[in-house]
């Protein structure tokens, strides 16, 4: 169990490291964010829906946490 958790942690931090590091090339040019700027592509939209869901699942299940917050969008300014 512990080994599995450490393995998952390693995988996720490796992915995170690749995202941040060697990848000045990963991603798109600033003028290519048209699709990412669409409302449907905003990870943090529908905050109320997520709050309602989190409330329900927290009171009916033993798990919590997860979503956090993220970037994306048009990346303007």
């Amino acid at each position: 169990m512990r080994i599995r958790k450490l393995f998952i942690a390693f995988i996720i931090s490796t992915i995170a490291a690749f995202s941040l590091g060697g990848c000045a090339s990963m991603g798109v040019n600033v003028w290519e964010r048209d699709i990412l700027a669409k409302p449907a592509m905003q990870l943090d939209a529908n905050a109320n829906d997520h709050a309602l869901d989190d409330h329900i699942y927290f009171s009916k299940e033993a798990s919590s946490g997860g979503r956090g917050f993220g970037g994306g969008g048009c990346g303007c300014n």
Binding site: K5, T14, A16, G21, W31, C74, C76, N77
Partner: protein
């Protein structure tokens, strides 16, 4: 468990930051010639102060900058000031709709393939470049916030006051 994980994540984060701090930032074209060549009349920018603005209809700050650019163009057109708005929409209809809505009085270049944007090595949206009457790049500006207009207005007036050197 948590402490170890935090150390792992912090280390990868720090390593990653140092890794890409070495990435070089390329310089945008120092001369207005590239922009001028994209216009139907490339001589129309001679001896003018030119404000080149890269924008797209999906970019909210870009849309917000249009009223200010309109005002600037109307105020200083007679003094030899020209706004060139380079549109980067891949969907031309969206760009047209916005231009009709705002009735922009300045020149628009449509760069849907992004080749001009690439030549300018754009780092932000919107991004603008101010050229003096001599056709040389004086400053670039990333993003647009209402408070930016104060300094930009002052700079435009300063450049307009310069006499034609050619």
């Amino acid at each position: 468990m948590f402490k170890r994980l935090l150390i792992v994540l912090s280390c990868t984060l720090l390593l990653s930051i140092s890794a890409f701090s070495f990435a070089a930032v390329n310089d945008p074209p120092k001369s207005i010639k590239l922009i001028a060549s994209a216009l139907s009349d490339s001589a129309q920018l001679k001896n003018k102060v030119v404000y080149v603005d890269f924008w797209a209809s999906w970019c909210t700050p870009c849309r917000k900058s249009f009223p200010w650019m309109k005002e600037l163009q109307d105020s200083y057109r007679s003094k030899g000031f020209q706004v060139i708005a380079v549109n980067l929409d891949k969907d031309h209809k969206a760009a047209q709709a916005f231009l009709e809505e705002t009735k922009a009085p300045f020149a628009v270049i449509f760069d849907s393939t992004g080749s001009l944007a690439k030549s300018y090595h754009l780092e932000a949206m919107p991004m603008s470049f101010l050229y003096g009457r001599d056709g040389n790049l004086r400053t670039s500006h990333e993003g647009f916030l209402p408070k930016d207009t104060v300094d930009l207005n002052a700079l435009v007036r300063k450049l307009l006051a310069e006499s034609v050197s050619k």
